[in-house]
């Protein structure tokens, strides 16, 4: 039998018809189309039992209550905690993005690391916890034996709380005075209140109940204070008919939402504030009953203000029209609950003491102190009452030494810590070298101005021990990284959110068990102390951080563990005994200490104006995190394209100024300041003063944009020692 071509065709035809009579083609078609919807690489999130864990967000000092939604053992969403006194269920975008920090396998440090490459080279080898702790303790013991315990320093970003106190206690018992924390605007305001009211307190602003806010650059909706609380209270303030005047060189969101935006050159705030004071005094609009009964030094202070800060003088210096100075001052003083506030954007950098005091004088003039809708003196947290650390002879010698940053010395009498001075003193080799530096939850190489100098200083320090959860600019320059749990994996007490009006403690607690081989920094301090032995060990009578936290919080522990927060809701500042603790027992406009400080003047930005005709300012955006925490991907995604375009940061420039340089929207420029140079693009923006250009804070991580600290310098406030730089001279050229 011969099989012909025809037979094959018949076979084919039969097979085709037969196949059509089977489910094969139809089933295949269906399965293939389903397959295209279910790529193996498209995740299928696992379902399961939903639970909520109450905790506290520690990504900024705000201290909002959070509820984390879990599905089985996964955390899937962070939401605001309803009923929390600060945020009342609201939440900011950084708080919402917290899980991107928790579950970031790339940036998280998974195990203790020891540097094997050059500093900054990102070459590390994993080591065991035992080895890590014994390496640190060996170094510490050697320095102590050599009598150099004071050459150890510690930087801790949290200003209050058990961890902060454990660290400070460790350094004290070990024998070093060098416990450093970063400064912020609330530090200058608290210092001003200390000088004028004699109380060491947290300044509280009753935004919601005030009727008029005169804001000198405070970014009320940029992240100032406890951000979500201020957002909420600003809404209520607005709905109640409150009036907001925003004074700043660049139209921020706060300015956009204000009743009036008053453009003002950076550094002229003090003079303008005193100009307002002049009008209020001259027009006799100050609260006489308050001034007469509760104040001291008014007459003498009044004379200087009347003599010097006349509207014509102030107008000449600040560029603000005389009529405007007069009308704003009068509106402010005539309002029933007026508040004057200051703060540079998010308030993460301090103001000059003269600026804070000028602003607080305005509040004094209208008598809006310690009453509804005014400024409150809120007591500092008092729940940490440990016995004094035990101090042996070596420690005694060590802590007697002058602090490396000279804080608290005659020159910087009101400063408790001056982290900003550290790079300079290390670079100049003043006083003594720093041989070992601890860093806890801070990223000074990123956050301190003049990055080049900071890196130089950090390279000079022979041994840096970093307790961080993430690989960042500072940890790559560290010698030993001892990874901490992230805030969603650990216990932590959070107190004293800036500018809140009531004493409050919130608690962060583990939402999930630690993902990686990390340890709580508090536990490490206790184990280091135990290993060092002697009195240092005896100073730490706790088994673990949790043991210490539980014993410290004592009767509040259970409440915090269950509800997430404790608040003294009936706190009333006017009833607080001795609200003024100055020598006179009154609110002092002027006293010996204040007279000794430098008077309010214009702060000139660094740089020669013949070479650098423009001023570069740094601004804050709520959509960018500018501190220790790097902006997670959701934040970068939410940033406008007029701020970040591809990987380029965009500098804002007034269209008039742009015209002088023949610049169009999107043009590339080279921006130079006395500290550095950068390539950027321009965005023409009518909301910025002519001859001022602005860049955002918080970019420059992971090749996204530029860290503005590369271009910024420092200006030291002669009264406090704080860095009060808010701008630097700059020039631009078309690239």
């Amino acid at each position: 039998m011969k099989v012909s071509r025809r037979d094959f065709l018949s076979l084919g035809a039969g097979a085709t018809i037969g196949t059509a009579l089977t489910p094969l083609p139809w089933k295949l078609m269906d399965d293939v189309s389903i397959w295209t919807q279910n790529w193996a690489w498209t995740p299928f999130p696992e379902d399961g039992e939903v639970t909520y864990v109450t905790s506290t967000c520690t990504l900024c000092p705000g201290g909002c209550g959070i509820m984390v939604r879990k599905v089985n053992n996964r955390a899937v969403k962070i939401e605001g905690l309803k009923g929390h006194p600060l945020n009342q269920g609201g939440i900011c975008l950084l708080g919402l993005s917290g899980l991107q920090l928790l579950y970031d396998n790339k940036k998280r440090i998974k195990t203790p690391l020891k540097r094997i490459g050059k500093k900054g080279e990102e070459k590390f080898e994993p080591i065991s916890w035992e080895q890590a702790i014994s390496e640190v303790c060996d170094k510490l013991s050697n320095l102590r034996l050599k009598g150099e315990s004071h050459t150890v320093a510690g930087i801790v970003s949290s200003k209050f709380g058990v961890l902060n106190n454990l660290f400070k206690r460790f350094l004290t018992a070990y024998g070093s005075p060098n416990f450093l924390t970063p400064q912020s605007g609330s530090d200058s305001y608290s210092t001003a209140m200390f000088l004028m009211q004699g109380v060491d307190c947290n300044a509280g602003f009753d935004i919601e109940n005030s009727s008029f806010i005169l804001s000198f650059g405070a970014g009320l909706i940029e992240g100032w204070g406890s951000p979500v609380r201020i957002f909420r209270e600003r809404t209520n303030f607005n709905q109640n008919g409150g009036k907001l005047i925003q004074i700043e060189p660049r139209l921020s969101n706060t300015g956009a939402k204000a009743d009036k935006w008053l453009p003002l050159k950076p550094g002229a705030e003090t003079v303008l504030a005193l100009g307002f004071a002049h009008v209020i005094i001259k027009e006799s609009l100050y609260k006489k009953d308050f001034i007469n009964t509760y104040t001291q030094g008014f007459d003498k202070w009044k004379q200087t203000i009347i003599d010097t800060y006349t509207p014509s003088y102030v107008s000449k210096i600040t560029g603000v029209k005389e009529e405007e100075i007069i009308s704003i001052a009068m509106d402010f003083a005539k309002s029933s609950f007026p508040i004057a506030i200051c703060g540079n954007g998010k308030d993460r950098t301090p103001e000059s003491l003269s600026h804070s005091m000028a602003v607080h004088s305005l509040n004094g003039l209208v008598g809006n102190i310690n009453r509804k809708g005014g400024i409150w003196t809120v007591p500092l947290p008092d729940y940490i009452n440990w016995q004094e650390a035990l101090i042996d002879d070596i420690a005694q010698n060590g802590i007697k030494k002058e602090r490396i940053d000279s804080a608290g010395t005659k020159q910087y009498i009101y400063a408790k810590s001056l982290l900003n001075r550290l790079p300079e003193v290390v670079n100049l080799g003043k006083n003594y070298p720093i041989n070992l530096l601890f860093i806890s939850e801070d990223n000074p190489i990123y956050t301190l101005p003049n990055t080049n100098d900071v890196i130089k200083a950090f390279e000079k320090i022979p041994f840096i021990v970093n307790f961080t959860s993430y690989l960042d600019e500072t940890s790559v320059h560290s010698d030993l990284i001892l990874p901490n749990h992230t805030y969603l994996e650990r216990y932590e007490d959070v107190s004293t959110p800036p500018y809140f009006i009531k004493p409050i403690i919130s608690m962060a607690k583990p939402v999930i068990s630690p993902i990686f081989n990390t340890k709580h920094t508090g536990d490490l301090i206790i184990s280091m102390a135990k290993k060092l032995g002697g009195k240092i060990s005896e100073s730490f009578p706790w088994d673990s951080y949790n043991d210490c936290l539980k014993k410290t919080l004592n009767d509040k522990w259970q409440m915090l563990e269950e509800g997430g927060f404790w608040v003294n809701s009936t706190f009333n500042p006017s009833k607080a005994e001795n609200q003024f603790k100055t020598a006179s027992g009154k609110f002092e406009f002027l006293n010996a200490a204040i007279s000794a400080l430098s008077p309010g003047d214009i702060i000139k930005p660094e740089g020669d104006n013949s070479v650098f005709p423009l001023i570069l300012i740094a601004y804050d955006s709520i959509r960018l995190s500018s501190g220790f925490i790097e902006s997670p991907p959701f934040l970068i995604k939410a940033v406008e394209s007029t701020i970040l375009k591809q990987n380029d940061v965009v500098v804002e420039i007034n269209p008039q100024t742009a015209k002088n340089y023949s610049l169009k929207e999107g043009d590339r420029i080279i921006l130079t300041t006395p500290k550095g140079e950068a390539k950027t693009k321009v965005h023409l923006f009518d909301g910025i003063m002519p001859d001022i250009i602005a860049l955002p804070k918080g970019l420059g991580h992971s090749n996204k944009g530029l860290n503005i600290n590369n271009l910024m310098g420092q200006i030291e406030d002669p009264s406090s020692g704080f860095n009060i730089c808010s701008g630097i001279r700059a020039k631009i050229a078309k690239a």
Binding site: F8, S10, L11, G14, I17, L21, I34
Partner: protein, 217 residues
């Protein structure tokens, strides 16, 4: 020559039909018997669970282990914590139980059950609406699993990744005998669009064309 040609034609014609029939039969065999076998991979469950045995010792029927949580969501297959009450120690002689206790309970490891009725990610199904709203029993959709003494082999579609119980035992989709034989969208429609089942069609949530979001997510 002509005759020869004719003969050739005839024979080839006869063979042609033969080949045609062979083609049809071959493809029918492939399509109906071989293809379904090739299409599905077979997996055994990690533990061969005896439903019948357990049903005898619980009070609340299926809901003793497969229950609605407080928030109304369906718990699915039980977690280890629900079994541990009885099985912290080996109870009987069954080698499957021994395996369960040794490999999962003592190691505190969840059993990776293979879910026959697992729906794709885009489907939202409310057990509460059917159990509490429509007062239906489990058997209507899931069959008599509660009476089984052994778990059947889990078959997974090699292309789509779906369980065979979703598309149905019978891959032609025309020979469905029981309501639990398949669980595709059309199978939901059997009740929800049915003219005879008025309650499912009218009293249930909207199941018209516009109601996509009732069951999709």
């Amino acid at each position: 020559m002509d005759a020869l040609d004719d003969e050739k034609k005839n024979t080839s014609k006869g063979f042609g039909i033969l080949f045609f029939i062979i083609g049809v039969i071959m493809s029918l065999i492939i399509g109906w018997i071989i293809f379904p076998k090739l299409l599905y991979s077979k997996k055994n469950q990690p533990i061969d669970f005896n439903h019948k045995l357990h049903m005898a010792s619980v009070d609340n029927g299926c809901a003793s282990c497969h229950f609605l949580r407080k928030d109304g969501s369906f718990s699915g297959s039980p977690k280890l914590s629900e079994c541990i009450g009885c099985h912290s120690q080996v109870q009987g002689q069954d080698p499957e139980e021994l395996k369960f206790v040794e490999q999962y309970v003592s190691k505190n490891r969840e059993v990776p059950w293979l879910i026959y009725s697992k729906q794709p990610a885009c489907v939202f199904f409310s057990h509460a609406a059917h159990i509490k709203g429509a007062k239906m029993d489990c058997v209507t959709c899931h069959g008599y699993i509660g009476e089984s003494t052994s778990l059947k082999v889990y078959e997974q579609n090699r292309i789509s990744g779906y369980s065979r119980d979703i598309w149905g035992k019978d891959i032609s989709g025309i020979l469905k005998k029981n309501s639990w034989d398949s669980m595709k969208m059309d199978d939901c429609a059997v009740c929800h669009e049915s003219k005879s089942n008025k309650s499912a069609r009218e009293k249930s949530v909207q199941t018209q064309k516009e109601g996509c979001f009732v069951c999709h997510k």
